[in-house]
Symmetry: C2
Subunit: 621 residues, 2 copies
């Protein structure tokens, strides 16, 4: 076990912590495995052609705004799914529908993915995503791996702690990282009075595939971090961690680390929903806003070591675990004790009208592995064990939830933020694999200049000790992931014909170009290996318009054949979009540049793909 950075930090832990926490320097010749077992480890992660990976790993792509999909155990990157940012490769954000869905935003900061759940386990239907940058929540369909809805959430300051779903996906909670003035403009001198951190209870309708906001809660002006929902006996409850309960407005690295304790917010979402039903809210910017200071029950604070970076509920829903991110110990809290303290009004005070439960009354135990530092996040296996990342001492600690006994420790390369176990945050972890999502890669891989990729360590956790299997670079920047067994997902392979879609054309004879004033509509087909915009034209693959026309190009890919995707790119018009097998999509633009513009299929589709071309002729005014 390497003790990295401990000397420099150790003395400062209990009190004021300077910004001098630095990253471990580890010699590049450190090998986590003995050479004797390298052979079997290599075999364990090798998936030969003809076989499939066992698990999907869904990583948030951080400030790329995208979702990264990996196969486990090979750790091969299978797909990048654009969620919050345009994707020129697939035309996401270019075709009419996705362009409108993105609403003009080009950047997103996707922090935490949440797979939909039934009875506390992944059901393989939807994935929810939240955007810290521009306050959006998105839903992705796991049938075709496409984003189906994006909702801009008002009154918000960055949903860093979302998304997390309740046991049966009743809500996707969307709490805020930053406090902002709740009503109009207010400077930072009025921070404590006029700023709030707002949490939104978001719902998803599986029929309409639309997101909505059920209600919002105007929390105190603190920062809210990673969150979790209860399970089983705690299924009606959810939790958030807080930091900057000091309400500092500058230099947070120092000023938000003053108090010894911050809080976990423990709330009963069913009670809150009932209160909304009973009208106990204020209409606020079009939202049903609950003010905690007006609440009678339903929301409590649990003290926790300062600046926690998350809270995690055990698979059986009996306990929750949280830790100060600069602390040496993890704290196990008991739901039963919390419910008892609530019933007994065993409070040590209140903040902003929210009762504070007594730490000693709710806490079950502190787990303090010698020399460990910086506990962040915890996942679980199927045998009663917890796995916690230690950011500062760069390791994963395995420990027994029931006894607090530390069972194993494994180095990571380098500083692990989140970690993700196979079904590791559900009611039914499988206890097979664990991936730590590390910040800073340094010398792990071939150098690509001053900034290196992030990295992931894959562990086999099926035995008594964790076995480090592999190290994988990753684009910036996964903040959280979820790992689901491949049998849970049932993606489809071809879009079915939709004879009711007026924009779809399945028969070449129906292709046509229509003009209505200065609006030209193309109803065309893409197929191996040609474009047919108007089968009756002398040049069926040519679109001729006049300068200034509005042009709507509706294209249906009539190759109902798995993986035969066509692209449609227009040279020098900076436009490209794909049509997947059977899919109908629309591209709309103003032909504002006269001239002759080649059109071509951008997604390799056949031996004659290169010949799948045409021209856009824009007659000059």
């Amino acid at each position: 076990m390497l003790k990295k950075a401990l000397t420099a930090v150790g003395g400062a832990v209990a009190g004021f912590l300077m910004a001098t926490v630095f990253f471990a320097e580890v010699a590049p010749n450190v090998t986590p495995q003995s050479s004797a077992n390298l052979e079997s480890i290599a075999e364990q992660v090798y998936v030969p052609h003809g076989e499939l990976d066992d698990y999907y790993l869904f990583n948030s792509g951080g400030h790329s705004g995208q979702l990264f999909v990996y196969g486990v155990p090979s750790m091969r990157h299978i797909r990048t799914v654009p969620i919050f940012t345009p994707d020129p490769a697939t035309g996401y954000g270019y075709d009419k529908e996705s362009k409108e869905m993105l609403g003009g935003y080009t950047w997103g900061d996707f922090h935490h993915p949440a797979l939909s759940e039934t009875n506390g386990d992944y059901d393989g239907k939807w994935l929810f995503a939240t955007d810290v940058a521009n306050n959006r929540v998105a839903a992705m369909d796991l049938g075709d791996f496409h984003t189906v809805d994006i909702l801009k959430v008002p009154n918000s300051g960055g949903p860093h702690c979302a998304a997390f779903v309740t046991e049966n996906t009743e809500y996707v909670f969307f709490p805020t990282r930053f406090a902002r003035p709740l009503d109009g403009f207010a400077g930072l001198d009025e921070y404590s009075e006029k700023y709030r951190g707002v949490m939104s209870a978001v719902t998803f309708d599986e029929e309409t595939k639309k997101l909505d906001i059920a209600y919002q809660v105007a929390l105190p002006p603190w920062s809210y971090d990673l969150s979790d929902a209860g399970k089983g006996p705690s299924a009606d409850w959810s939790l958030l961690t807080t930091y900057n309960t000091e309400e500092a407005t500058t230099n947070l690295e120092i000023n938000a680390s003053q108090a010894d304790k911050d809080f976990i917010v423990l709330f009963n979402w069913k009670e809150l929903a009932d209160k909304v039903t009973n009208g106990e809210y204020e209409d606020f910017n079009g939202q049903k806003m609950i003010f905690p200071e007006n609440l009678d029950g339903g929301m409590y604070l649990v003290p926790v070591a300062k600046s926690p970076h998350g809270v995690d509920v055990t698979p059986d829903g009996t306990r929750f675990i949280a830790s100060g991110k600069l602390a040496p110990a993890m704290t196990v809290f008991s739901f039963e004790k919390a419910f008892e303290a609530i019933a007994n009004e065993d409070f040590s005070g209140e903040r902003n009208g929210i009762p504070i439960l007594n730490y000693e009354s709710v806490m079950e135990r502190e787990v303090d592995p010698p020399g460990a530092l910086g506990p962040l996040h915890t996942q679980f296996d199927d045998r009663g064990n917890a796995y916690t990342t230690m950011f500062i001492s760069s390791e994963v600690v395995k420990w027994d939830v029931n006894t607090g006994e530390v069972l194993d420790r494994a180095d990571t390369f380098y500083s692990p933020g989140h970690l993700v176990g196979s079904h590791g945050d559900t009611a039914a972890p499988t206890g097979e694999y664990l991936v730590s999502l590390n910040k800073i890669a340094k010398d792990n891989y071939l150098s690509v200049g001053p900034s290196h990729p992030e990295s992931m360590d894959l562990f086999d956790i099926s035995g008594d000790t964790m076995v480090h299997l592999s190290s994988t670079p990753v684009n910036p920047e996964p903040h959280y992931g979820q790992m689901v067994h491949r049998d849970v997902l049932k993606p489809f392979t071809v879009y079915e014909k939709d004879e009711n879609n007026p924009l779809a054309v399945y028969d070449q004879a129906d292709t046509r170009i229509e003009r209505d004033g200065n609006h030209v509509s193309v109803f065309g087909i893409t197929m191996r290996s040609k474009f047919i915009f108007d089968a009756n034209s002398a040049r069926p693959d040519v679109i001729e318009v006049n300068e200034g026309d509005l042009v709507s190009i509706h294209l249906t890919n009539t190759d109902f054949d798995q993986d035969i995707t066509h692209g449609f790119g227009i040279m020098d018009y900076d436009l490209n979009f794909e049509q997947q097998p059977g899919q109908t999509k629309t591209l709309e633009f103003v032909a504002d540049k006269p001239g002759v513009y080649p059109i071509y299929c951008t997604n390799f589709c056949s031996a004659l793909h290169q010949e799948m071309t045409g021209y856009l002729i824009v007659n000059p005014k």
Copy 2:
């Protein structure tokens, strides 16, 4: 050896080829390796922590507009480098310099990367890229993996066959895929008279890091495909392949497959440069345009089986190889024979004033592996062997360049376009690894819906037979790659201080916010774990401006420490950019929305990264 799709296509090869060429269906349980050697193969591709990959693989990212960097043999994706499209994760296209460099384009179609060469081998200094979509060429610095210049090339119709560099990077040739009207507007009825396919000779100045155009050539209105430059005895020459020499203007899958032969364009770039020096060009749209019909020598046509997809020069520069992409055979041509034919004026005719060399006089041999179909591209090893992808029969064929003997054949999964050997297109191939870049993955990996990733097969080619090592999914869509040994590259780790940069601030005392009319300039520092915009302010991490101000934020990352990159994101302003260690960058925008906008570090930098925040206050008008 699987013979896929052969039955369906075989009879049609010699003549008219319908669009019915389809993709092979291969049962998912086909395993390319015997189970006996899986163990050693797994070990061969496994790179444990503490060790590095041997080779960099640089793949073009096709219609993503980006560059994908992999390590070989692990095939781990290390970095995505944005070249032609914005990248929200790193802020490429958001900071002032890269935004101006991108020129407003959001889409690019990066077809072929070209590493800079010295004496015909990679020198590890630059990578050139071309954009088919919007007619651009780019240069990337292999010191920091950043794009340093992008040039929009006028008079062009999609540089599908570029980039390819001459032996000492004198030129990056940039020929066109589509013909367009050369002078103003002309309809397709005037195609043969008024359309041209223009090739540009692009130069790169290593001092100024700027691209320029030396001259252009107004080639006939054909499509130009993959290209190569000569080496050694042929170093002064370059080659392009052509298709659609039929000059069809619609339905190319049929109309561009009529003639039995298309051409290779063989030209002496030194002679062309001399002619330009001698004034033998016309000024045309600001470019020095050579018209081949006015040329006396310097450019010739070599007949080749119809619709070739590329031409490749042998490492010793004595021969070039090209094949019709629907044909069963590869053709080896001899430079010596070509030079002799030129000297003897051994011509069979001319097209557009360019002499056609006699096929029989230049051709050395045809190599026809039984059942192989669809030869596309060829790479080389260090032992005199060539490796050619067969798109339709889905395999790589290894054959002896000197004798034409077929030595080995290996299946790919599935249809291979390009392939890339270790230094495999240089004067000094290393003969270790070969990667086929396949179109269509189908059942290779966990399903991600109707459209699957592309795929890559890695082969060990160091022995007598090719050994399939692994299959790797890849984002759409690599068209070509180059594989260079890690020892050739020397990326740096930290940007050096530049005391002459008036925008850089290295001392906290020099941080400041200046106002000049309605232009606010911030000279700030990013460091673990805070923003300092004005050290003398009560809130050094707050920027206060008025609605409507132009805001220029100059930030220097003063953490001169490998891999410590900071981000700067402004919530709801859709703005984010990174500063790598030691780097100074500028973000410029108009503060057109009043309100309070959190600022935060978007790239995880330390244990207190979460506290690295501030506010942008935009006072309402």
